[in-house]
């Protein structure tokens, strides 16, 4: 079970308080109506599944209800950093 640092609460809390919401940094296209079906499908369905460093969106569901990002190693389960939505990761590989 993970121990996760919420960058909003600025505390380590147990994984039970959080929900994972998939890959981070997936932006909604600004002009959906002019996206092709392929482009929309990319946004909708295609996600990375790396062995190693992965950027994930999580929410402190039973806490402050804020979304934030986690850089996590999918192999060792290490959490390298957590950072707020709108910020960029410092660990990328």
């Amino acid at each position: 079970m993970f121990e996760i640092y919420c960058p909003h609460c600025q505390e380590y809390r147990e994984e039970e308080e959080f929900h994972a919401s998939g890959e981070a940094h997936i932006s909604r296209p600004l002009d959906p109506d002019n996206c092709t079906d392929e482009e929309w499908a990319q946004f909708l369905y295609f996600r990375k599944n790396p062995r190693g460093v992965h950027h994930e969106l999580w929410v402190h569901a039973a806490g402050c209800r804020k979304f934030f990002n986690i850089t996590r190693d999918t192999q060792t389960y290490e959490i390298k950093e957590t950072y707020k939505v709108g910020e960029q990761p410092t660990v990328t590989e």
């Binding site: 002009d31 569901a61 389960y77």
Partner: protein, 1007 residues
């Protein structure tokens, strides 16, 4: 019964506290301080069970958690039955009742043994896969036979009367194991002020020191333990947990500890005492000081009772004052086991021979044995054991220097006990739990903990440091280091307690003792006692093509028992490696997973059972529902009234009555469970327009609107009515089950996509009670309870809401309808809910005000063709599939969620499954929900399926059944007939129609 194997003096038992226990119905005596195993050995009980496959008699071989044979059924009453207890870890208490878990008619005289003898050759590895696979229909019969033969214990037939707790712990330094290394570490960490947690599976701290003859700081080791524990207990920052097995080591230094609070007195525990605790520990740093398990050697008939692991013999002599026999033959590959021969001799028993596989052993302990004149036979091995229910002798032969073959003639020695040692395997189980791959060491002749990402240190025998002096030093160093790493000041150069430097000669890497016959023809050489896996079986598996050690494990069942291969796995891997002509590191090891030792379901569940299994949510009117005989339905965690049967009514009777009363006069529904989200902010309106498919720009204050919510894929996921409370203030309702999901969805889009919008969300579900009053008399009824809300049909219109007082309390009334009738939803502060509800019933008696539950609500809405998100939708239907295109805006400036998704090629193609009404040809027949439509019921299977029925009821108001369901291209097939073939072979014929069965013009809600 006398304790014929009990020594006259010594041991840590309390001779003035005799205890009585029973095994297989016979009564025996032991002492306080005994384990069940030591007491059984003291009483000369040789056979403690029968083996899994061959039904061979088996005796106690070890003294700890690695024991594979002495796995017993415990419990004096039916409710307190505990299966598969290792006798080596069960403390003895007065009145303990134990039984062998297998053997028929009993373990000592087992008829299955004859089957084993005859059938043994016919039961090679993979026997179960090869034999019991076909025909599949017979599996249920096979299973019963196999389960009985498997000989594992049975679970109690009555409810567990005990309570179990979970306890969350935080530690700066968590130390696993309280032997010499763990205790040394604890002392250093404690002095730093760090919060220290130290746990050990045994009843008292000390680990191997509890049976050691060595001196620490010139004192007997046990005295050092006592003083160290006394010292630790003075620290307020130290928590000591004996009888506590650290069973799992999970990510981010999360550990689970299984503490057995009363198992050592079991049935005798005082009432109300917690039996076991599961500690959930989050530690800054962890020190694994888990020690090592001695490996037995693999040789012919090495499973005859009386064959034991060398160190276990020492444990029984030194700790429990039990010499488990009269004449000992010790076989060893290393110096350490000589101690067992010395202990045996010191107990006044005869050491027949020390058989050392090494040609020229040298070391302090070897010298000590020589000095005592013990008979040492070097360069030799015990290749076979005689005896059936107890060892009667051994065959000894000289072997090649590399241990590969027998070189000399066989001599027979008479003895009743054989102790063997193939060296020590570090207890790396916990270090493996977090995904670390163990590393083989040729020096240690064992696997060591591998690299890890955990904040973890290791100390003592787990590192292959088997000497006492080294363990004390490593523990001292690790304790200080862990404290420093956790941010405390500690003395990194602290001086460890002193112990003698024992010189040892090199050990021999030997696992499998050769026989004069090839392995396949030699007497059975057991590797895994619990699963009857032999050296020959492993060799056969590799010959049959199983090369991966994981496959060999699964094919032979090695390590599958309750002992999880603690004793035999390394030997098995070594044999597989040799058979595959590989080194052990090339072959690798199987990975240990949690839990280290079996854990009870009780400890896992803790208090999360019965009433506390899951929270229950009740509305403010729950008490009334109970008093009025409601039947309840679970909706998420909510308990919702399902229907309100009167005396003598069937469910259908009650539904018919509730439906008709509502349509003819007035009914009332407790709708408090609907999700309610309060939305405020200057951009609230804009936000609604982006998350709903329809338009919100012009919704005026005082008005309500129904909205559909879709995902980015265009598929409907929730719906509900949202009301405009103020220019920047809205109240959104969601489905009961979807409330939390919708709130998270709104937050997701606000926080990640549109943070520039000024809008705030909060759940107010629990703050409001919602009373839905529906039916032609609803206006008349409510008007009796309010004098400040004008209910006039022209001023308070359909889809309006008003604020005022109802029954004397502040209220919001929403004129919305899920029944198609004139209908008002009264919202009051939750704690006024019951009051208003009761006032409505006082005034409503003359109108026959009738309470109805969720089932009548479902029927009433289905008569009107209203969908329920989650019942009539499943994530694969968009609004047009539901015939709800009217709820999809085309001209909103912002491309709202769902718009692009439902415009995808597949979403706009013809021939999609669409929601339609279904009228059965026989009006009394109700189609089962989930039934599949077909065009031709005579088409051979597999038939072409057109879509399923989502909602189906009998409508008393209409006098016939009604249904909604998906049919391919259904909206263009009005009037067509489709067929529903059922599992029982019958076919229901139905006509496709509009899903609005009642009042298609919507006149009833506008009266």
């Amino acid at each position: 019964m006398t304790q014929q194997n009990r020594l006259q003096s010594g041991g840590r038992i309390e001779r003035n506290k005799p205890l009585t226990f029973s095994y297989n119905g016979k009564h025996y005596k032991g002492f306080e301080g005994d384990t069940l195993a030591s007491a059984m050995l003291a009483n000369g009980i040789d056979v403690v069970g029968r083996s899994f496959k061959y039904s061979r008699p088996r005796g106690i071989v070890a003294a700890g958690p690695e024991e594979p044979n002495a796995v017993l059924q415990l419990g004096a009453t039916e409710a307190t039955q505990v299966p598969n207890v290792r006798a080596t870890q069960q403390e003895l208490f007065d009145g303990l009742v134990s039984n062998a878990t297998n053997g028929w008619p009993n373990a000592d005289m087992d008829l299955m043994g004859y089957v084993g003898k005859v059938g043994g050759r016919m039961m090679p590895p993979g026997f179960y896969y090869k034999t019991f696979m076909y025909p599949q229909s017979m599996w249920e019969s096979y299973e019963k036979f196999i389960r009985k033969a498997a000989g594992l214990g049975r679970s109690p037939l009555e409810n567990d009367p005990d309570t179990y707790d979970h306890l969350n712990q935080h530690a700066d330094v968590m130390i696993v194991g309280a032997g010499p290394a763990g205790l040394s570490a604890a002392l250093q960490a404690a002095r730093s002020g760090a919060r220290v947690l130290i746990a050990d599976e045994q009843s008292e701290f000390g680990g191997s020191l509890l049976h050691s003859n060595e001196l620490i700081d010139d004192k007997p080791a046990a005295q050092w333990v006592e003083e160290t524990v006394a010292q630790l207990s003075k620290f307020s920052n130290v928590v000591m947990l004996p009888r506590s097995t650290v069973n799992g080591y999970h990510d981010h230094n999360f550990l689970t500890i299984h503490e057995r609070c009363t198992d050592h007195i079991a049935d005798k525990a005082p009432a109300g005492q917690v039996r076991q605790r599961l500690h959930r520990v989050r530690a800054k740093w962890v020190i694994l000081a888990t020690g090592a398990h001695e490996r037995p050697l693999v040789f012919g008939h090495n499973d005859v009772p009386g064959v034991m692991v060398a160190s276990a013999v020492s444990v029984y002599i030194n700790r429990y004052a039990v010499a488990p026999g009269k004449e000992l033959v010790l076989m060893t590959t290393n110096d350490g086991a000589y101690q067992t021969a010395l202990d045996w001799a010191a107990a006044g028993r005869k050491v027949t021979a020390i058989v050392d596989t090494r040609a020229n052993p040298q070391g302090d302990l070897v010298d000590a044995a020589r000095a005592q004149g013990l008979n040492i036979i070097t360069g030799s091995a015990v290749i076979d054991v005689q005896g059936s229910k107890r060892v009667s002798g051994v065959s000894v032969a000289s072997i090649a220097e590399d241990g590969s073959r027998v070189t000399g003639s066989i001599q027979r020695l008479s003895c009743d006990t054989v102790a063997s040692s193939g060296g020590w395997s570090p207890v790396i189980h916990l270090s493996c739990h977090t995904g670390s791959r163990p590393k083989w060491s040729d020096d240690v002749i064992g696997f060591l903990p591998g690299d890890t990402v955990q904040k973890q240190l290791t100390a003592g025998s787990i590192n292959g440091e088997f000497g006492l002096k080294g363990c004390l030093a490593e523990g001292t160093r690790a304790g200080a280091q862990a404290a420093i790493n956790a941010g405390f000041e500690a003395d990194a150069d602290a001086v460890p307690a002193s112990a003698a430097d024992v010189k040892t000669g090199p050990a021999m890497a030997l696992f499998h003792i050769p026989h004069s016959q090839p392995t396949s023809r030699a007497p059975k050489q057991f590797v895994d006692f619990q699963n009857d896996v032999t050296a020959a079986g492993i060799e056969l598996a590799t010959r049959e093509g199983f090369e991966s050690i994981e496959h060999v494990k699964r094919y032979t069942a090695m390590g599958f028992g309750t002992d999880q291969g603690k004793l035999g796995n390394i030997n098995g891997m070594a044999i597989a490696a040799k058979s595959l002509n590989q080194s052990i590191p090339e072959t690798g090891t199987t990975i240990f997973r949690p839990n280290y030792t079996p854990i009870t379901f009780g400890a896992i569940a803790g208090r999360h059972c019965g009433e506390l299994f899951d929270p229950k949510r009740y509305s403010a009117m729950h008490k009334w529902h109970l008093e009025n005989g409601a039947k309840f339905e679970d909706v998420g965690q909510w308990k919702r009234p399902w229907y309100f049967p009167k005396a003598g009514e069937s469910m259908q009777d009650a539904l018919n009555r509730e439906c008709q009363a509502t349509r003819e006069s007035v009914g009332i529904l407790d709708a408090s469970t609907l999700g309610k989200i309060d939305i405020q902010g200057k951009d609230a309106r804009e936000f609604l327009g982006r998350v709903y498919t329809n338009a919100w720009a012009k919704l005026a204050v005082g008005k309500c609107r129904y909205g559909l919510m879709c995902g980015e894929d265009g598929m409907v996921f929730d719906d509900g009515v949202t009301s405009c409370l103020g220019e920047n203030h809205f109240l959104m309702t969601t489905t009961t089950g979807g409330a939390a999901r919708v709130l998270e969805w709104l937050e997701l889009y606000h926080q990640t996509e549109w943070p520039e919008l000024e809008v705030y969300f909060n759940t107010v579900t629990d703050q409001w009670a919602t009373l839905t009053v529906s039916g032609p008399n609803s206006r008349k009824l409510i008007s009796e309870l309010t004098d400040d809300i004008d209910l006039d049909r022209d001023s308070f219109k359909f889809m309006d809401w008003r604020e005022g007082t109802v029954a004397g309390v502040p209220a919001r009334i929403f004129r919305i309808s899920f029944t198609g009738e004139l209908s008002y939803e009264i919202n009051v502060q939750a704690n006024y809910g019951l009051h208003v509800w009761e006032k409505l019933f006082e005034a409503g008696e003359k109108y026959n005000l009738t309470p109805y539950g969720t089932e009548t609500m479902h029927i009433l809405r289905a008569e009107k063709g209203f969908i329920i998100a989650g019942q009539d939708t499943d994530g694969s239907v968009h609004p047009f599939d539901l015939g709800m295109g009217w709820c999809v805006a085309q001209k909103k400036p912002f491309s709202y969620i769902g718009k692009r998704g439902m415009a995808r090629e597949d979403c706009v193609r013809p021939n999609r499954k669409q929601l339609v009404g279904l009228k059965t040809k026989d009006p009394q027949v109700v189609i089962p929900e989930g039934a599949q439509a077909v065009n031709d019921p005579n088409q051979p299977i597999p038939m072409t399926m057109l879509g399923h029925v989502t909602s189906s009821y009998y409508s008393a108001c209409l006098g016939h059944s009604i249904a909604m369901g998906f049919v391919r291209d259904g909206l263009n097939r009005m009037g067509d007939t489709v067929y529903y073939p059922l599992a029982d072979g019958t076919v229901i014929e139905a006509e496709i129609c509009s899903p609005i069965f009642l009042d298609p013009k919507g006149e009833r809600q506008n009266v």
